[in-house]
């Protein structure tokens, strides 16, 4: 997936054009999805036998064998793989071994929670990250930068399980202001989204700062100053559009990551989202569900990357994507 991120960044400079570009991107997307599903399919089968975990303790070898047969695990691997691919093409990602329901249904059930959390975290991190990035760039070498940069560093350095526990300790256990776990109204969204945002915000702040600093040294900024423009106007009318592309790229990647389910954060806050589902399915060796989640997360990742690319053209009107500008 790192390769996808890199290719997206490289494309900014190449200034792509035409429907052929779009078709090419879609082809790449399909290829990437195929690759990811194949790897996941075989890697999962190395993890052990799901049948052993499904049968009650003390079940006989014959019982296990029967379960394996029911699940279709006795077929040769290549046949399992082909039938999985065949189903996937039609949008059928298989049935959960454990819950005996379609995997897609399980995902659909969890997705709203994860999406809620992801969007809240992204908005928080954009607001905070962009603000900090712009301020530290404009106030380079002044106290504002020296005060804010450590905050960014700490945010980036603290792992989610630590930030999350700390927040629970202070705001739920200590102050008793906010619920600690589970989903119970918008207030319960606050702590997990702050936990997630602290990581994304730091990344966004760094990219914003770098991008703004680079643009600040450009001649057109001097022109704007020579026109009598104030800092606010320079930031909003000149720097915003020109510095946005790297920020947008990172924000897109962050959103894609968040939508795939924030495993650690969801576990800490007992958040009923995709991250939790992932953990449960992996530990139960519920192959179809894990596969489905990975396929879904990759599709989201690729889709958001493509969308980001298209947005470049909206922001920087020199870039033309998918047709004549």
């Amino acid at each position: 997936m790192a390769a996808i991120a890199i290719s997206a960044r490289r494309r900014v400079r190449a200034l792509p054009a035409g429907p052929r570009y779009l078709a090419g991107r879609l082809g790449q997307a399909v290829l990437a999805l195929f690759g990811v599903t194949t790897i996941v399919f075989f890697a999962l089968r190395l993890s052990g036998d799901p049948a052993r975990l499904l049968v009650p303790e003390g079940a006989s070898a014959a019982d296990i064998e029967r379960v394996r047969e029911q699940l279709g695990l006795t077929d040769p691997l290549w046949r399992q793989y082909l039938s999985f691919l065949g189903g996937a093409v039609h949008g059928d990602l298989g049935f959960s071994y454990v819950q005996n329901r379609p995997a897609t249904e399980l995902i659909a059930e969890r997705l709203p929670y994860t999406a809620n959390l992801a969007v809240a975290a992204l908005l928080l991190s954009i607001v905070f990250g962009v603000t900090v990035g712009v301020v530290t760039a404009l106030k380079r070498g002044r106290w504002q930068e020296r005060a804010l940069m450590p905050v960014v560093l700490v945010g980036q350095a603290m792992p989610a399980f630590w930030t999350g526990l700390l927040l629970i300790l202070v705001f739920s256990v200590g102050l008793r202001w906010l619920p600690s776990t589970g989903y119970d109204g918008p207030l319960s969204l606050l702590l997990p989204s702050v936990t997630l945002a602290s990581l994304s915000a730091a990344a966004i702040a760094r990219v914003t700062r770098g991008s703004v600093l680079e643009q600040l040294s450009r001649d057109y900024v001097r022109t704007a100053r020579a026109k009598g423009a104030g800092t606010g106007r320079i930031v909003l009318r000149h720097l915003a559009r020109n510095s946005a592309i790297p920020v947008l790229t990172v924000a897109g990647l962050e959103l894609a990551n968040l939508l795939g389910g924030a495993v650690v954060t969801e576990v800490i806050f007992a958040w009923p989202g995709l991250g939790q589902l992932t953990i449960q399915s992996v530990s139960a060796r519920d192959f179809p569900v894990v596969q489905a989640i990975v396929v879904f997360a990759s599709a989201v990742y690729i889709g958001i990357n493509l969308l980001t690319d298209l947005l470049y053209g909206v922001i920087d009107r020199r870039v033309t994507v998918g047709g004549a500008a």
Binding site: R222, T223, A226, A229
Partner: protein, 322 residues
């Protein structure tokens, strides 16, 4: 009557004595065009930027520069913003990098009006289109909606000129406005500048003596952060007094007097910023230097030199160097 712009002993240093502008004296009258000439690194652009508080970070500006009698040096950012663009505007050398690459050119011209006039948005854009027409851009309504990269170099510089003149400034600083352009376009842009600035004072920064003759009323020749010679274009170009000016003029090819062999150049180098200059900064490269030149000459009667070329000597002096 006070001069429109009166610069006295203007200095710009980058800390610990690293001076780039070392005491510039310069006057620009109303409606007058004054060319500032010198090699790159002589501090001519920095002098102009310093006037508007646009010198790079870390630069300290001292001395005096009065616009219509009011001191500019030491003004706060807020006061300077009211002057920039409105009373004094600048055209920069490279019109590509000096325009915002992601904003329509019409909007960029209109921004000048947004900052300095109470005009409404639609009126501003209409005014921008008219300004573009006034600098000879055809199809201005369509051009105004284009991005800088869709315009040719000459067209972009026309946009810069219309932008600089949008708020009707008293003084226009043109910092090498034709250097980045093709030769054929240079002449057009010069003609346009001359025509559009009949009532505006212009401080025209250039390294090109040919351009000076085209556009200026007066000239100030700068060397190593100081003005070494000043006078009317006629005086300076025909009877240069300072050995540096004379050498500079000889290094310009003249179609009427073809040189055989190499074009004369000035030996040595301009002192670097921060280099300690004792006495006359040109003395290490000057054919006329002697002991007197170990003390710095002051600008008197249009020249800062202990041994200026006089009327009778000019030709002989030029002969020496050959």
């Amino acid at each position: 009557m006070t001069e429109l712009l009166d610069i006295e002993d203007l200095r710009v240093d980058f800390g610990t004595g690293r001076e780039a502008v070392r005491g510039v004296d310069l006057r620009v009258g109303r409606g007058e065009t004054v060319a500032v000439v010198g090699e790159s690194g002589c501090g001519k652009s920095l002098t102009a930027l310093a006037l508007l508080g646009l010198a790079p970070d870390g630069a300290r500006v001292s001395g005096s520069a009065r616009l219509d009698g009011a001191e500019l040096v030491g003004l706060g950012e807020r006061e300077l913003r009211g002057i920039r663009g409105d009373r004094v505007s600048i055209i920069f050398q490279d019109p590509m990098s000096s325009l915002n690459p992601t904003t329509r050119v019409g909007t960029q011209i209109a921004e000048m009006l947004a900052i300095h006039t109470p005009m409404r948005r639609s009126a501003r854009f209409r005014a921008a289109v008219e300004l573009m027409e006034s600098v000879g851009i055809t199809d201005a309504p369509e051009r105004a909606r284009q991005m800088p990269h869709e315009l040719s170099g000459g067209m972009r510089q026309r946009v810069m000129i219309s932008m600089a003149l949008a708020a009707r400034p008293d003084l226009l600083i043109a910092d090498e406005p034709t250097t980045a352009l093709d030769v054929t376009v240079q002449a057009q842009v010069l003609a346009l500048l001359r025509e559009r600035t009949r009532d505006t004072a212009v401080l025209f920064i250039t390294h090109d003596m040919g351009v000076v003759a085209e556009i200026a009323d007066r000239v100030a020749v700068m060397y190593a952060g100081r003005v070494v010679e000043t006078g009317t274009v006629r005086e300076v170009l025909e009877k240069p007094q300072h050995p540096y000016t004379a050498a500079l003029l000889r290094s310009v090819p003249d179609p009427d007097r073809p040189v055989s062999g190499e074009l004369p150049s000035i030996p040595g180098q301009v002192p670097a910023v921060g280099e300690v200059v004792e006495g006359c900064p040109f003395s290490p490269r000057c054919p006329r230097a002697d002991d007197a030149c170990t003390t710095a000459p002051v600008l008197e009667a249009g020249v800062a030199c202990w041994h200026p070329h006089t009327d009778a000597q000019t030709e002989a002096g030029a002969e020496d160097a050959r």
